[in-house]
Amino acid sequence: MSMSSTRAKVLMGAATWGVYLFLYIPVLILVLFSFNQARTGGTWTGFTTKWYTALAGNGRIISATWNSIQIAAISTVIAVVLGTMLSLAIDRYSYRGRKTAQQIVYLPVIAPEIVTGVSLLAFFSLVIGALNDFLGRDAGNAIRMGKATIIIAHVAFGAAFVALTVRASLRNLDPAVEEAAQDLGATPWATFWKVTLPGIMPGVLGGALLALTLSLDNFVITFFVSGPGSTTLPIEVFGQLRRTISPEVNAVSTLIFAASSVLLIAALGIQAGVATRRSGQVTTVSSTPEEGVPDQ
């Protein structure tokens, strides 16, 4: 079938941009209205950046942003280490149950967030309840859910995404190069640092940026496992929306969207750059993160 006729070309172009419009018009409107002078409603009354200035003085937004950054940074570091170790363990070593391990590694990626959220809530309640009983804490000084539980929850799905991208890189890394390193006198430890890790670096970095982005954006799971003093930015935005509809929310959402886009483009850029330098060898890596981005 030929797609080269003018008619087909026009149709394909129209379909592509039609779908993109459908996807991005809400975001465009959000960005637009974050610069609107009117406090309420859908009428454009003039350009302003005052909502962005107001954000700087909004203590709740600033503290929530700080929480989000802390949680994202810590959970990403842990997720990268665990996710990389996990993918090495299930792809480079053989043992009983390895096949099953390979099949369930992406469960956190495909599990509905609501399910993950509810199950983590139940789990943390159980553990924290038992811990409080054991330590004899009463209501006044009891351990509660907070940043720690959010970090654990974010590590849980972040590590799965890291495993996803690292495994794609591992598939492109000839096991013979690891043997070559040992053949040349490198210990297994040195082989990992000098050959394996540089070889899978595109996957590790891509996974790290994905984990970071997803942690910054996450709402559903975070909502279930957060506690007093651990409000993240998405949860704060949701809370403010419930009280009043403020253009400040538009402004902060625009900033979140911009930051997420930059991180994602960086993730893809790193992988594409490495792929170009090792031309011909790395081909499938850069397509994986796109598949891995969940609908939010």
Partner: protein, 375 residues
């Protein structure tokens, strides 16, 4: 380093004693015993799945034997991990480090052994000169051709001055012309370096042209270990005879041993004399086969050779095939079996004289030019 403890005079020797390697139910290497002399160029030759690559991986240390022992340089290396063995490998697909430049690839082994910067630079340059690649130091492997990558892999291995260089089908990924040029270069490199080379290949031409000795492997075992000439002239088994070069195989029964020659009976009933096999004892009544190279097959008009030095059978010439350098003659014996004769073409004369398809002929061999092989 294992190399520092190497006994004098043993450096570069490799000994496998009764080495077996099993993967689950499959026996990849079956009681292989092999002694490689220092500075020898030995080939492990066989079809895929014959155990030659596993044998190489046992020597490099990537696999541990299920039983048996391995000595390298006179020292027991059976339980020494790969990174502590003083051997280096050229991998089939080179296995270059893609994130490192040519110079960094070659320096890898010296760096992990913590040699000084100036020493590393000097040795890397010497290795690059040796493989004729001095101008490509800062390129990445993906920017090199297959032949250049091959040279980098060579330099990366020999820069470590190993006792033994292991080569795993290093030429199989190259195109024909380059493959033939590299045969010559590898032989020259072997002479210049004085290192032991253990070369794995399924290509009999490579093995025959480069090796001091060839170990022909089949189903995990060494079928024959000898010089290329001996293996070609006196194959020990039906498998070796058919794997190395082209061979006519005729089923026979051994009748008696007569001095240097052996009397056998062919299926058609005729009793003829042939040369013995490489080192095997044959007992009368044993079923065996006679192997004779097509170049050695005698093909004449009836009555040309009446003397007692030839074993000849009546037959009919069926086909004459011109194939460039050579002409092949397919003859059919009275029992229906075929014998193929090959002659080099020479300007101005027909290699088989006046013989034409359909002619009655006498076909066979001079006693010494055919030999008996085991089943």
């Amino acid at each position: 380093m294992a190399g520092d403890q190497t006994a004098q005079g043993e450096r570069g020797s490799v000994s496998l004693r009764g080495v077996t390697k099993r993967f689950g139910d499959m026996t990849a290497v079956d009681r292989v015993t092999l002694h490689v002399e220092p500075s020898e160029f030995i080939s492990l030759l066989g079809p895929s799945g014959c155990g030659k690559t596993t044998t190489l991986r046992l020597i490099s240390g990537f696999e541990r034997p299920s039983s048996g022992s391995i000595m390298i340089g006179g020292i027991d290396a059976t339980d020494v991990p790969a990174h502590k063995r003083n051997v280096n490998t050229i991998f089939q697909n080179y296995a270059l480090f893609k994130h490192l430049t040519v110079a960094e690839n070659i320096a890898f082994g010296l760096k992990v052994k913590r040699q000084g910067k100036t020493t590393i630079a000097r040795k890397v340059n010497a290795a690059l000169d040796l493989v004729k690649l001095p101008h490509l130091t800062s390129r990445y492997p993906s920017q090199l051709s297959g032949g250049q990558q091959q040279r980098v892999a060579l330099a990366r291995a020999i820069v470590n001055e190993p006792e033994v260089l292991l080569l795993d089908e290093p030429l199989s990924a190259l195109d024909l012309k380059l493959r033939q040029a590299m045969r010559f270069e590898l032989s020259q490199l072997h002479r210049d370096l004085g290192m032991t080379f253990i070369f794995v290949t399924h290509d009999q031409g490579e093995a025959i042209t480069m090796s001091d000795r060839i170990a022909v492997m089949h189903e995990g075992r060494i079928q024959q270990l000898d010089t290329p000439l001996a293996i070609y002239e006196r194959p020990a088994s039906r498998f070796v005879a058919s794997f190395i070069g082209e061979t006519n195989l005729i089923d026979v029964t051994v009748t008696s041993v007569e001095g240097d020659l052996i009397r056998v009976k062919v299926a058609a009933g005729q009793s003829v004399l042939v040369a013995p096999t490489g080192g095997h004892t044959l007992t009368p009544g044993q079923v065996a086969a006679v192997a004779v190279r097509p170049q050695r097959v005698v093909l004449e008009s009836p009555g040309t050779h009446e003397d007692a030095t030839h074993a000849l059978f009546p037959g009919v010439l069926r086909e004459l095939l011109f194939i460039g350098d050579e002409t092949r003659a397919v003859t059919e014996l009275t029992d229906g079996s075929e014998l193929i004769a090959v002659r080099h073409n020479q300007a101005g004369s027909h290699p088989f004289g006046d013989l034409r398809p359909g002619d009655h002929v006498e076909v066979g061999w001079r006693h010494g030019s055919a030999c008996v092989v085991d089943e």
